[in-house]
Symmetry: C2
């Protein structure tokens, strides 16, 4: 059984959590499942959509991979010792990633010590004020820990996670389902390139060409 | 007040509905709101996430724009006269779009007569068997009605919708929040190009360049 837990808090950004959930669940392997985990069974997104999580935070400790989503209340989460204490992650045996302000959670857990980080522009200011080096690129990885910045970098974080757990061909196949029609090859290969190049920093991002 | 209704059914694809919802709600205008509407207050996504919709299907009739999402049960929806009867759309006064299998709903409502369509590969076979011409591109628009194919073409459909309702600058600003860090300009301009070029078919898609 391979389980990926997408950690999602109240006030969450829908793109960050659901793009990862959807792409990760496209992997065509038996006993492979991506789920949303949250501090409580019901949480509400930043745009007012109430959802039921699949499981509570403690389930992340048992997952093969854990991706921490972003949202409007991540600063409150990080300041809440009780919630943070429920989140037990181990980069020695788990693949771990964060999306945008999710980097604050990984930093608080001590998982980003001495490594540059990708995040959104707002979180960048917070992390830099704490002495963290923030990169101008969508994804950076060191060992089993990756950080992503910009909601739609969730596509790259999902590709990196699948590649780590199941190989690049599995990531390519999963991406093939979700990329825009007529752009399949270019979009999937670009995402795989970003994922494969995520251990290099700074990366000279060329991005899309229309 | 500008309202965009994202029509979402049981078994829905999370990327299709939530990427549009999130981008559309980035438009910084007073009294502007994108909401999820569904046949019942609670529905469950294709990956087992139960959500509460903001409103029921009838609300789409009052919206300025209506985007129909995709999912695993769209064929059942289209076959259900009672559900379809609750969905009253008017392309004379509403901006209307579909994502992937959502095209089946627009076709059933008679909104795609005589126009080529964008959709996903599975729906393509269904529509072609009914004599509809399906394009190898992510987005096509004629007048107030657009169709998109491939989950992540939801970015383009959202850009097109904002451009129709509020202009290209508003679309550019909304996209700036969600594109990957380090690729902001290229990714946003590509999406705007696809949206602006959506009235041309067939479009020579160049897609992304990594």
């Amino acid at each position: 059984m391979t389980t990926i837990a997408i950690v999602t808090f109240d006030g969450f950004n829908e793109i960050d959590s659901f793009v990862a959930l959807s792409i990760l669940n496209r992997v065509a392997r038996p006993a492979w499942r991506a789920v949303l985990v949250a501090p409580s069974r019901e949480i509400t997104s930043m745009n007012g959509v109430r959802i039921s999580a699949h499981a509570e935070l403690e389930a992340a400790a048992e997952a093969d991979a854990v991706l921490v989503g972003s949202g409007t209340k991540t600063r409150d989460v990080v300041a809440d010792a009780r919630t943070m204490g429920r989140l037990r992650l181990d980069p020695a045996r788990q693949v771990i990633g964060s999306q945008c302000s999710g980097a604050l959670v990984l930093a608080k857990l001590g998982l980003l010590a001495g490594t540059p980080v990708c995040t959104d522009r707002r979180t960048k200011a917070t992390l830099e004020s704490e002495g963290v080096s923030v990169l101008e690129q969508p994804l950076f990885a060191r060992g089993n820990v990756a950080t992503a910045g910009g909601c739609l970098a969730s596509v790259y974080l999902a590709a990196w996670t699948i590649a780590k757990l199941a190989g690049e061909d599995a990531a390519r196949a999963a991406l093939a389902y979700v990329v825009p029609v007529g752009e399949e090859r270019a979009a999937a290969e670009h995402a795989l390139d970003v994922a494969a190049g995520a251990t290099r920093a700074p990366r000279a991002s060329k991005g899309y060409r229309g």
